[in-house]
Amino acid sequence: MNGAHDLGGVDGFGPVVPEPERPVFHHAWEKRAFAITLACGFLGRWNIDMARFAREDTDPLTYLKASYYQTWLRGLERLLVEKNLVSAAELTEMKSRGTSDARMLPADSVAKVLAKGGPARRPDPPGAPRFRAGQSVRTKNIHPRGHTRLPRYCRGKQGIVRLDHGTQVFPDSNARGAGENPQRCYAVEFAAGELWGPGADPTLSVMVDLWDDYLEAA
């Protein structure tokens, strides 16, 4: 979707404010919001693309007003209800009407599941990839209402394939529960002038990881 989350190239947000390496969290509640989001993710009822879409699919003002963990919290509440882990009434009342039969993550599995992660790489199908490093491609101009990882600023733009990341889960279908649709993903390099026109930094290029379905030979 063309949401407020799609921030590349938007003007007016002001300076970046650096910060020291610690603290990791800035409020006690952020730790809890972080942990319940992660723990609920391990229930296996949604994938990472669904989680991203739950966070970005909102009114732009809501998105921009929230701090990042507030956005996580909003996404979590939506997913809990959508995936029938919590009923809307339970969420409104913040009161349990019965335990769930989902398998919660036990404390002694935390280290193991974090170390394992959730790889998105899938086996490469037989045959050569569609594009090779050095090849010129053009991104499609798509504006799906659902989740996509093709940012607005690099749609309809010409670039050069630089890296082949192998076969990866395709977020656009995975986010809507339509299957992983695994396909080749590449790092594509765009000259800043192609993205931002005259006056762009001539020393700048932007590398964007893009799937086969976003690309055409050019």
Partner: protein, 215 residues
């Protein structure tokens, strides 16, 4: 400088827009956690373990060790640039949000910088959780368009001729920048070298410190 932890008033970076409803959010998180515990969807001890992991165990220190090794050991550096995931796994740094790693090397000719314009993808096993600015609109909007102006906000000025590659992490690849080894660091051991690596230098918004330079 390490500011005091916690509290409701030391917070200013990720919420400078006047929506000061922290206490409301705090209450909501607390209520939601209770609900999830009551429904046996989360184990309170698991929550504490998750927080402890990312607050105390996994952080930029991991990445610093990787970078120091690459600076010290040419064979390791070659492995790191060829198959970052495997080379980083040699330290035991694996898993969530670092399943598929790519390391990009800064040189006098080319500077690399990492952003996630669409959300806040970040290599957790080597850097921990992202700083507020990395997740914020100013960084996400400007990094792909005016990285030199962003670098200026970090006090960094690159030579005018240096090419800049900004990596927008749109897929499940996680990028770690291998900063340039600072002048004057010849002969330092790995643990001393690791002290020169900063979190920001591994994102590309900073440079590694010269020996003796203040943190």
């Amino acid at each position: 400088m390490i500011p005091a932890m916690g509290g409701d008033h030391d917070h200013h970076h990720d919420h400078d827009h006047g929506d000061n409803r922290w206490s409301e959010t705090q209450l909501r998180v607390k209520a939601l956690e209770s609900l999830l515990v009551d429904k046996k969807l989360v184990d309170p001890a698991a929550l504490d373990a998750l927080i402890d992991t990312y607050e105390n165990k996994v952080g930029p220190r991991n990445g610093k060790r990787v970078i120091a090794r690459a600076w010290s050991d040419p064979a390791y550096k070659a492995r790191l640039l060829k198959d970052a995931t495997a080379a980083i796994a040699e330290f035991g740094y694996t898993g969530r949000q670092g399943e598929d790693m790519v390391v990009v090397e800064n040189t006098p000719e080319q500077h690399n910088m990492v952003v996630c314009t669409l959300c806040s993808c970040y290599p957790w096993p080597v850097l921990g959780l992202p700083p507020v600015w990395y997740k914020s609109a100013p960084y996400r909007s400007r990094a792909v368009k005016e990285p030199r102006a962003v670098l200026a906000d970090f006090g960094v000025t690159l030579p005018a001729a240096t090419r800049i590659r900004v990596w927008d992490s749109t897929a499940e690849l996680r990028y770690l920048v291998l900063p340039m080894r600072p002048a004057g660091s010849e002969g330092l051991r790995e643990d001393a070298l690791a002290e020169l690596v900063t979190r920001d230098s591994m994102i590309g918004t900073g440079l590694a410190r010269a020996p003796g330079q203040k943190p």
